[in-house]
C-alpha cells in the first residue's frame, strides 16, 4: 500500500470523526493544509463550480 493510503487507513481506523473539507483548486487545498486538517477532498462539484461557473457563457 502506498504510504499516503496506509496513513489514511490508520487514521480512519481510529474510532473518531475525521473532518474532511472539500476544495476545487490549489489555493483551497493549501489553506486546508495550513489550517491543520489531516484529510481533504478534491470535490467534483467544487471543481465544476469554480472552473465552469455559468454554462450559457461557455458554449
Amino acid at each position: 500500500m502506498r504510504p499516503q493510503a496506509a496513513a489514511l487507513k490508520a487514521l480512519l481506523d481510529e474510532p473518531r470523526l475525521q473532518v474532511m473539507p472539500g476544495c476545487g483548486d490549489g489555493m483551497g487545498a493549501r489553506l486546508i493544509e495550513e489550517a491543520g486538517f489531516r484529510t481533504g477532498f478534491v470535490s467534483g462539484s467544487s471543481v465544476s463550480a469554480m472552473r465552469l461557473p455559468c454554462p450559457t457563457r461557455i458554449w
Binding site: Q4, A7, L17, Q18, M20, G22, G24, A29, V42, S48
Partner: protein
C-alpha cells in the same frame, strides 16, 4: 455550474494534481464520480489519480453520461453494473496501493433497501470506505453503517442536501464538508466586488495573510538563484 457531470476526466485530473501538489501533507480523497465511462475508464481514472498521489478515490454508481430531461434526478446503473464498476475500481486501487471509497446514489431513485443491498455488495467486492448518499433518517444511517461491517463510512454535510445529517458529536470516522470553501469564496468575492462599487468594505485577507496563503516568501530565494545573464 452545478455538478452536472460536464467536467471531463482531464479537467478533474488536472484539479486533483493542483490540489495535491499544493498540499502534499494532507491525505487526499479524490472525486472520481462515475469513472467517466466503462470499467476500463474507471481503472484509467484510478491509475491517474494514484499517480497524482491521492490516498483514496471515490467511485459512485450513477449513470454516465447523465441522462437529460429527468429534472436532475440522481439515476443509477443497474445493481449488476454497479457491482462490476466497483470490482474494476477495487482491482485498480489494489494494484496502485490506494483505497477505494464506493458510493451509492440509489437511495433517492431506488429506495433504501436497494441502496443497502449495493453497500453490502461493495463491501463484499473489497471497497475500503463506504458512502450512502442521502440517508433519510438516523435509522437508515445506522443500518447502513452496520451493513458496512466495520469499514469506515462517510457522512456528507451539504447545506443543499436533502438528507439526514447528524451533528458532528454523533459521528465517528469521516464527516465530509464539500462546499464550505466554495460557499465562503462565493460570498467573499461578492462582498469584495460590492465594496469596489461603493458598498461596505468588508474585511479581507491582509497583504501579509495573502502572502502566506500563496507562499510568496518562498519565491524570491528561488528567483535569485537563476539570474538571467546580462
Amino acid at each position: 455550474m452545478p455538478d452536472t457531470d460536464l467536467v471531463s476526466f482531464s479537467e478533474m485530473a488536472d484539479a486533483v494534481e493542483s490540489c495535491i501538489a499544493a498540499a502534499p501533507d494532507v491525505l487526499w480523497l479524490a472525486d472520481g464520480d462515475t469513472g467517466h465511462g466503462n470499467a476500463l475508464a474507471v481503472q484509467k481514472l484510478i491509475h491517474a489519480y494514484a499517480r497524482r498521489l491521492a490516498a483514496a478515490v471515490l467511485i459512485e454508481d450513477k449513470i454516465w453520461p447523465r441522462p437529460l430531461g429527468r429534472q436532475g434526478a440522481k439515476l443509477v446503473v443497474e445493481r449488476e453494473h454497479a457491482i462490476l464498476r466497483c470490482r474494476a475500481a477495487v482491482e485498480a486501487c489494489r494494484n496502485e496501493g490506494i483505497l477505494l471509497l464506493a458510493r451509492t446514489d440509489a437511495r433517492v431513485s431506488r429506495g433504501f433497501d436497494e441502496a443497502l443491498a449495493r453497500l453490502r455488495e461493495f463491501v463484499a467486492a473489497g471497497a475500503d470506505i463506504l458512502f450512502l448518499d442521502s440517508p433519510q433518517s438516523e435509522a437508515e444511517m445506522r443500518t447502513s453503517i452496520e451493513a458496512c461491517k466495520g469499514n469506515p463510512t462517510l457522512a456528507v454535510a451539504s447545506p443543499a442536501g436533502k438528507h439526514f445529517m447528524p451533528g458532528a458529536a454523533e459521528l465517528e470516522r469521516i464527516g465530509i464538508y464539500p462546499q464550505d470553501i466554495l460557499a465562503a469564496s462565493g460570498r467573499a468575492m461578492r462582498d469584495a466586488l460590492s465594496g469596489l462599487k461603493g458598498g461596505a468594505k468588508l474585511p479581507m485577507a491582509t497583504p501579509a495573510e495573502l502572502a502566506t496563503a500563496i507562499c510568496i516568501d518562498e519565491y524570491p530565494s528561488r528567483d535569485s538563484r537563476w539570474p538571467d545573464p546580462s
